[in-house]
Amino acid sequence: MRSITTRFVMLVATAAVAPLVLYGAVSVYSLRAGTRQSVIDGNRNVAARAAEQIDQYMAHHVSVLQSIAAILRNTELQQWQQKVILTNHVLAYEVFRELTLFGPNGVLIATSRLGQPTLQPPRVPIREPDIAPTTVDDAILPTTAVTLPLTRRGEENGWLVGEVSLEELWRMVNRIQVGQEGFAMVVADGGQLIAHGDPDQKHRIATAENLADHDLVAAVAARRARERSDGTDTASPNNDDDDELFTEYEDDTGRMLLSVAAAVTSPEWTVIVEQPTSEAFGLSDQLELQLGVVITIALLLTVALGYYWGRSFIRPIVELTRGTEAIASGRLEERVDIAGTDEFHQLGESFNSMAVKLNELQEDVRRQERHAMFGRIEAGLVHDLSHPIQNIGNSCRLIVKLFDDHEYRATFRRTVDREFASIKRVLEDLRNLARPMPLERFPVDVNRSVAEVAESMQALADSAGVDLDVRLTPGQPFIEGDVFALGRVYRNLILNAIEATAPGGVITLSTDEHDARIRVAVEDTGAGIPHDRLENIFEDFKTTKRRGLGLGLAISRKIVDQLGGDISVASTVGRGTTFTLEFARVEARPEVSAPTAAAS
């Protein structure tokens, strides 16, 4: 029964739960992967756009410087005029804090400053615009210096250096916000943090925190180095291998951050956008949770419905199994109760009909068996009693005629005694079958009891032309038994053997001892018993003989059972039969057993 339940559970699991779980797992995985990638791509786009804006922002400053340089280069200006031009541009472009013009040898020509310029010419000649490392001034504002080489007729003609305020860069970075807690930061090429959108993190700028060890800063630096060594174009460093440019890490406060980066082309800065993963993947986590809840509910519903339907499916089977087991155990009155109108109900009805039929059949069989048994008893009684009665009757009729014959009177007495004894034995058998005689259990010397019975049966064996051979085990093996009941058992077995053995045959009585068990065997060389009749040979009124009630072996088994022993039979048709008795050996009690044995 458990197996069908197990199989049904496996059916439900295989057909419904497993696909649902698999679907859920795939959905969650797909959702997670999709949303994560979407968030990462979104943040990457933010960083890339910021990097592009910074590129344009710095390129604009360089272009303004180039236009100033063009003015200074193409006209023959006096020094005071150059100073006015520089000053006017500083006033016009607030982003320029200072503009200073240096001659070919680094000689100061003009500056927008009232006093001495703070800017310096390049230490080594440069041919391309150069952007110096960023610094944070005392007003907490980031600045850098942009140096523009000047040429006249293709020859080096000094430098225009501008101190550029990156205040707008800060504003630009401040405007970048991803969600509520995602901010951007800008890292200079040396790793110096120069802008951070998170108000709580701005102190890191003031302390000139170096982020060269940041994974993404290092990745961007490595990529630039690789591109330089490969000689590849670095104009758009964000286009390939972007998978390198994101990471997740735990910050000093224990928050997990999603960090993505984009490289600025010129200057070689890095834009990093960081967002706590709790927020970045918050929607994904929420959707996962919702999906998980839905799938769990679906699973529970599936299991509940499976249980309900499975129970309604298995219950009739269980009921039928119970009924079948009851019938098999002989309780033919048992019925099954299967409600409904389906096939199971019909099967239940059929089962009940079958049980009714079986009950009726059993009653018929019993009735027939009873009739057969009564017939056998009747025939046995007629046989067992009619012969002695007939003998007695014949003897009586003869005694009338031969009463004076002294010899015949003696024969008459013997015949009458014998036949009455036979009648008495039949009647005792019947009485013992109906009401077993009480046994008294004492240690009994088996060898002695067997020898006594053999001696008493010797005459009968002789008259049947059968040799009675007795083989006793050495010593005095004692068992706990009733010497008279045991004698009756021995006699039944020997008598059966004599009757089954043709003249000239041999009956062997033997005792032996093995593993504290005493065995008594009665073996004959008779016709043997067919195998199919051996199974119920110890039952009442079962006999292989043509005559008699067949109660001897049944009574013998009852006695052996009462004495706690075993009785068995082995027979081969045409070779003979062996009955074996087996009892537990006990210690003798000489002072008791001897008188008892003597008395028996």
Binding site: Q78, W80, V84, T87, N88, V90, L91, E94, S112, R113, L114, G115, V136, D137, D138, A139, I140, L141, E167, W170, R171, N174, P199, D200, K202, H203, I205, A206, T207
Partner: protein, 526 residues
């Protein structure tokens, strides 16, 4: 005690800082810059609370002066103070009166004031402090009316009567905003303010709460004042919650500091104005038409936007919220055509092409040199804008950039200068007007004496009507004579952690109410 000296720590004498000694040598400009109206605030008694420490960050070039000034404000109280509208407010003095003829002032003291050593405030302490002040050239230089004091008489434990040599009682009152201390031994002075100066430490100055402060014990148990080499470092310390109060937020950084949600920024109008001061004793600035012309030639709004990012206001150079001016403000508008015309009327014509070719540098109708102190960040953009704007009317303003507090201040004491770009005290305390603009005073030698009569009349005004009338006349003269081009009055910003609840007192420096600050228990640190 004289304002500018450091009070004694726990009864021990503390030497004046080198900055103080240096400042005495450069009285004029230093006075202009640091005389910020330093009277301490009055208020209700604060609630008692558990141990609270407030850390203040000071940074920048002037942090030595700033530290001294801040310590004075937090440890000392004056007799009276001038409110935002110039009205006299009580501090240690509970009452005062000016004799009808203006020749005497009677001051009555509070009776519940004790100094840091536990001794009560007496009329004797007031007399001693005032006597020292009127004998101090530094103090008299700042408040010339102190020299009018003829004698100070103790009228009892809680009253002094100040006799004057002239009827200047009304003008003397604001000059009495002097920190009163108890003298104990030579050079040892004990103040009575809400906090007590602890002996100096190497890295920071520590003030402990004065548990017996007469206005009530502050909730703040300890004030630590840390100095930083740069505003950047101070700001970083504030962002790291190492300090609660950034004393001075630079204009450039203000936007970013304001963006910090853990910080509240407070603005206050500074009591000084940036101005281009003319030496009126030298031509062509001895001609008021030239001075007026140049006053019309400068776009003050442009200067405000560029140099101060709009944080401030344009100004006439006077504290016009003072009650004596009645809300009247006289400011030159931007009118370059009128400036051009006035210069021509003064005989300063634009050069012809021929003339221009002979002029070295920018062809001009007028060239003058301006002293520019580079110590203050706004100076350079102000000078550049003025240069640019003056060029438009043919005026070449050359600049001589040098340190303000040393070189410029020293040069102003002589006659060898044309003009100077300086911050000028706007005189919320009217007695300062006399110090700055009366030709007899030695703060600087600008040769300007056209306002002397009006100032003398103001000094001797007995009634409020006289004061208003005299002040109005002075204001008009200042406008008409234009001794300088008065530009902008910048805002000053202070940043305080939201951990503290700062009383909302518009127009007052939050330092005045620092002792009343409370901790916001609901504010969680970052």
């Amino acid at each position: 005690m004289i304002q500018g000296e450091t009070p004694k720590a726990g009864g021990r004498a503390v030497r004046s800082s080198p900055a103080c000694r240096w400042r005495r040598g450069t009285v004029a400009v230093a006075t202009l810059v640091v005389a910020l109206g330093t009277a301490c605030g009055a208020g209700e008694s604060p609630q008692q609370s558990s141990e609270v420490v407030l850390s203040i960050g000071l940074a920048g070039a002037g942090r030595g002066d700033g530290l001294n000034q801040l310590v004075l404000q937090l440890t000392s109280d004056s007799l009276i103070r001038s409110g935002p509208d110039g009205r006299i407010e009580e501090m240690l003095a509970s009452d005062w009166s000016v004799d009808p003829d203006g020749t005497a002032v009677t001051v009555t003291l509070r009776q519940d004031v004790t100094f840091h050593d536990g001794s009560p405030l007496t009329a004797h302490d007031v007399k001693t402090t005032l006597d020292q002040a009127r004998q101090s050239a530094y103090r008299v230089g700042r408040d010339p009316l102190l020299s009018d004091i003829e004698s100070i008489k103790i009228m009892g434990l809680d009253q002094v009567r100040i006799a004057l040599s002239r009827p200047s009682g009304q003008m003397l009152l604001p000059a009495l905003g002097i920190y009163i201390v108890k003298q104990r031994g030579e050079g040892e002075s004990i103040p009575s303010g809400p906090f007590i100066l602890e002996p100096d430490t190497v890295e920071e100055t520590t003030l402990r709460v004065n548990p017996n402060y007469y206005q009530g014990r502050s909730d703040i148990d300890t004030v630590r004042i840390k100095t930083f080499s740069s505003v950047r470092n101070a700001w970083a310390a504030m962002m790291r919650s190492e300090i609660d109060f950034l004393y001075d937020v630079p204009i450039g950084a203000r936007q970013f500091v304001e963006a910090d949600p853990s910080v509240r920024v407070f603005s206050l109008d500074t009591p000084y104005a940036y101005a281009l001061l003319f030496n009126t004793s030298r031509p062509p600035f001895d001609d008021p038409r030239v001075r007026v012309a140049l006053s019309y030639a400068v776009d003050r709004h442009a200067v405000l936007d560029r140099a101060f990012r709009g944080h401030g206001s344009i100004t006439s150079g006077l504290w016009t919220s003072h009650w004596v001016y009645g809300g009247k403000e006289l400011i030159y508008g931007y009118d370059p055509q009128r400036a051009d015309r006035l210069l021509s009327e003064a005989g300063l014509y634009l050069p012809t092409e021929t003339q221009a070719a002979g002029i070295e540098g920018f062809p001009n109708r007028l060239r003058f040199e301006t002293l520019v102190g580079l110590d203050l960040a706004p100076m350079e953009p102000i000078a550049l804008i003025m240069q640019q704007q003056l060029r438009q009317i043919g005026v070449d303003m050359e600049t001589d950039a040098k340190p303000l507090f040393v070189d410029v201040a020293a040069q102003l004491l002589g006659d060898d200068w044309d003009a100077a770009l300086v911050p000028l005290n706007m005189a919320r305390n009217l007695s300062r007007l006399y110090a700055f603009w009366h030709s007899s005073q030695p703060l600087f030698d600008a040769g300007f004496n056209q306002a002397d009569a009006a100032l003398d009349r103001l000094r001797s005004s007995v009634t409020e009507e006289d004061v208003v009338s005299s002040a109005g006349a002075f204001q008009q003269i200042m406008f008409d004579q234009a001794p300088g081009i008065f530009l902008n009055r910048p805002e000053q910003a202070r940043a305080v952690s939201r951990r503290f609840i700062v009383p909302d007192t518009p127009e007052r420096d939050i330092i005045e109410t620092l002792w009343q600050w409370q901790v916001d228990e609901g504010w969680s640190t970052k």
